[in-house]
C-alpha cells in the first residue's frame, strides 16, 4: 500500500520535549485518553519524576503534570491501565505506585511493596485486572486488582537466575512474559487453579535465544508474534501463536518458537523495541540510533524475514532507552534518552511495500 506517492520512508523529528533533569528511562502512551482528548504520554526517569505530556490546541506539546515526591529513587518504568484511568510507576525504591487519573489530575492511590530491590518494570494485563512487576531480586510478582484501590499479590514467581528487566502481558491472553539479565525469556500462565507457573523458557541453547541480557519485548497487535531485544545487539522475532494459557496435555505439545534474528543493525546494546499496529517494529539502542523494520513480504525464503526500513543515526545525543508507537496515531513514535529528552517522530513516506 503506497501512502505517500511512493516516496522513501523518512522519520522526521516533530517535537523535542525537555523538562526531565536526568536520563529518561521509559515512556507510556495512554491507550484510552477519553473522548475528544488528544494523545497523552507519560515519561519517567532518573530525576525520580513522572511527566505527563499533552498536545495543546496550537499543536505544541506541553508538560501538563509532574508527579514527584512519591518515589525517592529513579522511576524506571511506567504503564497505563487499559481503560486509561490508572498509571503504574515502578521505581528503584523497591515500590510500585498506582496513580488515579481523573478530571485531569493525578492522585497516588496505592503503593505496592514486597520486592527486595529495585523494581524494573510494571505491566497491566489486557483485561486490566492483573498487574505484573519484576525486580533485580530475580522475582516476578503478579497482583490482582481488588475493589477500593487494593491490590492482592496472587503470585511471587522465582525462576530467573538474575535481575529481571521487563515484564509484559500478552495483548489478548492472560499470559505474562519476562526477560532477564540471565539472557532468558520466561513465559508464565495460570494453570486454571490460580496457580501461576513458568510454561516455557526461551534460551540460547534450546531455542536460538539471546546470548546476553534481554532488555525488552513487544507483541504485535494479534499477539501471534513477539520481538525481543538484547545486549547481544540483536532483535529476535518469535512465533507466539501457540496458546500457552491452556494447561498442557499429553497431546498438546505446542510451544513458542524462534522465527528470525535481526543482526548487524545496531552496534551497541538494544534497550527497547516496540511493534506498531501497522506491523512496523521500532528499536532504540545505545548507539543513539532508531531502526524501523517490517516483514519482507517479497521474500522467497522459507519462513518470515524482516527488512530494515530505515535507520535514524544520532536520533538522540545519547543512548535511547525506550521507543513507543502512539496508539491513536500509528505513524507517531516517541523516544526517550539518556540525554534527558523525549522526542516525537513522524514516519512519512512508503514504509510497507
Amino acid at each position: 500500500m503506497a501512502m505517500d506517492g511512493g516516496a522513501a520512508a523518512v522519520l522526521r523529528e516533530a517535537h523535542r520535549l525537555t523538562g526531565h533533569t536526568d536520563r529518561v528511562w521509559s515512556l507510556a502512551w495512554n491507550p484510552s485518553p477519553g473522548a475528544g482528548a488528544g494523545p497523552v504520554l507519560a515519561s519517567c526517569g532518573g530525576d525520580k519524576a513522572v511527566r505527563i505530556w499533552k498536545r495543546a490546541a496550537d499543536g505544541a506539546w506541553q508538560c501538563s503534570d509532574v508527579l514527584e515526591d512519591t518515589h525517592n529513587r529513579t522511576v524506571r518504568s511506567c504503564a497505563w491501565s487499559p481503560d486509561g484511568k490508572l498509571l503504574a510507576t515502578a521505581s528503584f525504591d523497591s515500590t510500585t505506585a498506582i496513580w488515579e487519573y481523573s478530571g485531569g489530575d493525578f492522585e497516588c492511590v496505592a503503593t505496592l511493596e514486597g520486592h527486595e530491590n529495585e523494581v524494573k518494570s510494571v505491566s497491566w494485563s489486557a483485561s486490566g485486572s492483573l498487574l505484573a512487576t519484576c525486580s533485580r531480586d530475580k522475582s516476578v510478582w503478579i497482583w490482582e486488582m481488588q475493589p477500593g484501590n487494593e491490590y492482592e499479590c496472587v503470585s511471587v514467581q522465582q525462576g530467573h537466575t538474575q535481575d529481571v528487566k521487563m515484564v509484559q502481558w500478552h495483548p489478548i491472553l492472560d499470559v505474562l512474559v519476562s526477560v532477564s539479565y540471565d539472557n532468558s525469556i520466561r513465559v508464565w500462565a495460570d494453570d486454571g487453579d490460580d496457580e501461576w507457573h513458568c510454561v516455557q523458557t526461551l534460551t540460547e541453547a534450546n531455542n536460538c535465544g539471546h546470548s546476553s541480557t534481554v532488555w525488552a519485548l513487544s507483541f504485535n497487535q494479534k499477539g501471534d508474534r513477539m520481538v525481543t531485544c538484547s545486549d547481544d545487539h540483536t532483535l529476535k522475532i518469535w512465533d507466539t501463536s501457540a496458546d500457552l494459557s491452556q494447561p498442557k496435555t499429553s497431546d498438546n505439545q505446542e510451544s513458542w518458537r524462534h522465527l528470525s534474528t535481526l543482526t548487524g543493525y545496531h552496534n551497541r546494546t538494544i534497550f527497547s523495541a516496540h511493534w506498531s499496529s501497522e506491523d512496523i517494529i521500532a528499536s532504540g539502542a545505545g548507539d543513539d540510533a532508531i531502526c524501523l523494520f517490517a516483514e519482507d513480504k517479497s521474500s522467497m525464503v522459507e519462513g518470515p524475514s524482516y527488512r530494515l526500513i530505515l535507520k535514524k543515526e544520532k536520533a538522540h545525543d545519547m543512548d535511547i532507552n525506550c521507543v513507543r508507537w502512539c496508539p491513536q496515531d500509528p505513524r507517531m513514535l516517541a523516544s526517550a534518552s539518556d540525554d534527558g529528552t523525549v522526542k516525537l517522530w513522524e514516519l512519512r513516506g512508503n514504509a510497507l511495500d
Partner: protein, 158 residues
C-alpha cells in the same frame, strides 16, 4: 571497611614519570584536538585503590596501554587488572573508572570497562555487571557505595 584485607600485601610499582603533552603539530589554535590515549590515562591514573593508599597506576591496575580509544567513533575501552584474582573490589574499581570517565568525557562517548582477560576468577560476571548501565545507575544511588567512589576519585582532582 572489611574485616581483614582482601589483598594484604600489594606489589607497588614505580610511578611512571608524567610526560607533558607535546605541542600540537599544527599552529592553528582553532583546530579541534582529538582526545587521545594519554589524556584518558591521565584522567584515571590517580584514582585511589579502595583498600590501599596507592593509585591504580602504582598498583599496575591501569597502565597507558589499558586505554583503547577511537575519538572519531567516540569510543573508549579500559581494560584493568585487579591486584588479586579473587578481588571483590573489582566491581568497585570498575565503577570508579566508569564514573571518572563519565564525568570527564563528552556525553557522545561510549565507555566500555573490562577486566583484563585471565586476571580475575569471575571475569565474565564482573564485565557484564560493569557494562550494564542500569545496574551502574542503581549502584550509584546507593549513598554508601557512592561515598566510597567519591573517596577513590578525590585524588584525581588535585
Amino acid at each position: 571497611m572489611v574485616v581483614g584485607l582482601i589483598n594484604a600485601n600489594p606489589v607497588v610499582y614505580e610511578k611512571k614519570e608524567r610526560r607533558s603533552r607535546q605541542a600540537p603539530e599544527t599552529t592553528d589554535e582553532n583546530a579541534a584536538e582529538a582526545i587521545d590515549q594519554l589524556e584518558i590515562f591521565d584522567h584515571i591514573r590517580d584514582i585511589k585503590d579502595p583498600e590501599h593508599p596507592y593509585s591504580l597506576e602504582e598498583l599496575n591496575v591501569v597502565t597507558e596501554d589499558s586505554v583503547e580509544i577511537n575519538d572519531e567513533l567516540s569510543h573508549v575501552r579500559v581494560t584493568f587488572t585487579p591486584t588479586v584474582e579473587r578481588c571483590s573490589m573489582a566491581t568497585v574499581i570498575g565503577l570508579c573508572l566508569r564514573v571518572k570517565l563519565m564525568r570527564s568525557l563528552p556525553p557522545r562517548y561510549k565507555v566500555d570497562i573490562r577486566v583484563a582477560p585471565g586476571s580475575h576468577a569471575t571475569e565474565t560476571a564482573v564485565n557484564k555487571q560493569l557494562n550494564d548501565k542500569e545496574r551502574v545507575a542503581a549502584a550509584l544511588e546507593n549513598p554508601n557505595l557512592l561515598d566510597i567512589v567519591e573517596e577513590c576519585l578525590s585524588p584525581t582532582f588535585a
